[in-house]
């Protein structure tokens, strides 16, 4: 049987608004995925360590503070340094449309601003993981 898709939902930085992160975590779990939530106030290093320890397929960052570009840049660099390029990264939260191409260019594979239907997030992650496993 195929292994369940495993997702790390992570809250980087000092911002404490985690309603969205928790709701998406519950939706992914209901869709049959295994979900780990980091809790609040995480540094990029802590997120990286959690992803490593839990050997997740996907990291989902929830960012409401406006700092999504520098945080993603740092995480993508560190994943590369650690040879963890197989872990896919998606981002949700308060993300202006103009920043989506910037994030894509860094290698972020999905951007889900607040209000995105669960279905879209679930299918997006399933597609990413399926493509990765076929490769």
């Amino acid at each position: 049987m195929e292994r369940k898709t495993k997702v790390l939902i992570a809250k980087p930085g000092l911002d404490g608004h985690d309603r969205g992160a928790k709701v998406v975590a519950l939706a992914l779990r209901d869709a049959g995925m295994e979900v780990v939530y980091t809790g609040l106030h995480q540094s990029v290093e802590q997120i990286l360590r959690a992803a490593m320890q839990e050997s997740v397929d996907v990291i989902g960052l929830s960012i409401m503070s406006g700092a999504h570009v520098p945080i993603c840049r740092k995480l993508m660099e560190r994943l590369k340094q650690e040879g963890m390029e197989e872990v896919e990264v998606v981002v949700g939260g308060v993300i202006p449309k103009k920043d989506i191409p910037v994030l894509s260019q860094m290698g972020v594979k999905g951007v889900y601003p607040g209000g995105t239907p669960f279905k879209e997030i679930i299918e997006g992650i399933q597609r990413l993981v399926a493509a990765r496993r076929e490769a």
Partner: protein
């Protein structure tokens, strides 16, 4: 307003109406519904101004005095804060509200690596007494009341407020500060917590106990059901959890030998007006009654004025949408109506642009005008508690009351709020409700105009993020370094050691914090001592 679930038949006739609190609403109510819930005027309502205060805490309601409006605004540097304060005072405002940036809320100095990119972003950066001296320069601190939106380190900021007031020549007996100081709700909803639950509640207690003794004009705690609701809780959970949080703080003070009558009159609440109109009105009427009963029956409070549910009932932000944003103006008017029909003494509205940006001055003014129209033009000041006696409203109020009591009992059965938060029970419940709500929106059972219905010609506003000015942080850090150079560092070290031994001994930290502030110890240094002594909270896993 809509957050109820509507089950419809194919012809769009409504088959069932289910409120967020789980109450099913009947198509028609009559006298038999009051009989069914055992409605009794004297016992359930009483006259306005009389126990149990269901109809309001004043005999004449808005006839004698309209509500107070307190719009919330954000600022960057201490200098800007000072200018804004002076402008607001010149406009006749008698209360100030200080918003702090996230590093300050988390007890980090502006040059801490964890503060990078956040200095001055969502409020004022405060590192030492010098920043308060700038922010409060030229303000009559004996005449102005100041709200401090700070929780994990409310002790530090209250001490700093006393230190700045005394430095400017205002005796501590004359100053009026309201630190939010509600750490349990931060752990449930807003996320600005630092220390584990038990020492965190102890600090809340230090703030209150010290104020009772030394700061007679201060209101040392503001319990926020508001943020719990914004995090997803139902209206019933909002009130039940807020009251159980209050009970946890009362217990902390009773354990120290204080009498509830000596301090509960200084508790205030910050509650949320978002949801179905009738459910909101019933919620607030039930809440006034249950709070009075809770104080009298659980804590033996005797003084009538100590039994009042005081506080701000404010229009919640989670009802607003970035789709068709002008609709939020209309929503705000209905939230204001709900607050007025509930007898709110103090109110505020989120501005219509808040769903996608930090409110503009124009949008904030529009919120204020909305509230003024409600008071001055519509007729809400005509008579007290105008919905009293309605078959529907009284039946609903009784049902809300019962459900709030059941939810409070659940928390009691778990060993009280401190336990219920430490184990993650409350966080799990709130997340589950947030998820149910979102599913309702996505399925269309809960209607949101412009979002999942009537979306034709939709104009969705792009979210605007405030440009972050790096020069603020540089300036703030330069000023912090200068403070560290100029102060008597030996004295600071000595006082920080004294703070540590006081915290370890379990004594009230407030007096030595005031001395630390006077000596220009930094927020990061003082909080660092607490981090050392208390450790940091590890969130319980809720999945």
């Amino acid at each position: 307003m809509g957050v109820a679930r509507y089950i419809r038949d194919p012809k769009d006739a409504i088959q069932e109406v289910i409120y967020q609190s789980g109450i099913r609403v009947k198509p028609v109510y009559g006298p038999q519904d009051l009989e069914e819930v055992g409605f009794d005027y004297q016992k359930d309502l009483g006259d306005p101004g009389e126990y149990p205060f269901t109809r309001g805490i004043h005999p004449l309601g808005y006839r004698s005095r309209a509500w107070t409006t307190r719009q919330y605004t954000g600022f960057g540097t201490p200098e800007e804060t000072n200018q804004r304060f002076k402008w607001m005072i010149s406009q006749g405002q008698t209360g100030l509200n200080v918003a702090f940036d996230l590093p300050t809320q988390m007890g980090l100095d502006s040059d801490d690596p964890r503060a990078e990119g956040e200095v001055g972003r969502v409020g004022m950066a405060v590192d030492s007494l010098r920043d308060f001296e700038t922010a409060f320069q030229g303000i009559q601190l004996d005449k102005i009341g100041t709200g401090l939106t700070i929780n994990a380190i409310a002790t530090v900021m209250l001490a700093m407020y006393q230190a700045v007031a005394e430095k400017f020549g205002f005796p501590k007996e004359r100053i009026s500060a309201t630190p939010q100081n509600d750490i349990l709700k931060e752990m449930i909803g807003r996320g600005a917590w630092i220390f584990p639950v038990e020492p965190a509640v102890r600090l809340v207690g230090d703030c209150i106990a010290y104020s009772v003794k030394e700061l007679p004009q201060c209101n040392p705690v503001s319990i926020c059901g508001y943020h719990i609701r914004e995090s997803g809780a139902t209206p019933v959970q909002e009130i039940a959890y807020a009251f159980q949080i209050a009970n946890a703080y009362i217990q902390e003070l009773v354990n120290r030998g204080l009498q509830p009558d000596d301090f509960v009159g200084r508790f205030s609440f910050n509650l949320n007006v978002f949801g179905n109109l009738w459910e909101q009105v019933a919620k607030f009427r039930a809440a006034r009654k249950l709070w009075a009963r809770n104080l009298r029956e659980r804590w033996g409070v005797k003084e009538k004025k100590n039994l009042f549910l005081r506080g701000l009932f404010g229009g919640g932000g989670s009802g607003l949408t970035k789709e068709q944003p002008e609709n939020n103006i209309i929503r705000g008017a209905f939230y204001g109506l709900a607050a007025a029909l509930s007898g709110a003494q103090t109110t505020a509205l989120c501005s219509y642009d808040e769903a996608y940006t930090i409110p503009t001055a124009r949008a904030a003014l529009l919120s204020l005008r909305t509230l003024e129209i409600i008071m001055e033009e519509v007729g809400l000041r005509d008579t007290v508690d105008p919905l009293a006696g309605s078959y529907f409203i009284e039946s609903l109020t009784k049902q809300m009351e019962e459900r709030i009591l059941q939810e409070m009992k659940r928390v009691d059965d778990l060993g009280g709020m401190v336990q219920a938060v430490a184990t993650g029970y409350i966080q799990r419940e709130v997340a589950r409700q947030a998820y149910e709500f979102e599913k309702g929106i996505q399925s269309g059972e809960i209607v949101k105009v412009g979002v999942n219905k009537y979306t034709e010609g939709e104009t969705s506003q792009e979210v605007e993020l405030h440009e972050y000015d790096e020069s603020w942080a540089e300036k703030q850090i330069a000023s912090l370094k200068e403070v560290r150079r100029q102060r008597d560092n030996r004295e600071v070290t000595r006082l920080l050691r004294e703070l540590e031994s006081t915290a370890r001994a379990g004594n009230n930290v407030m007096p030595v914090l005031v001395e630390c502030c006077r000596a220009y110890a930094t927020v990061g240094e003082m909080t660092g001592v607490f981090r050392e002594v208390f450790g940091e909270w590890q969130e319980p896993s809720i999945f």
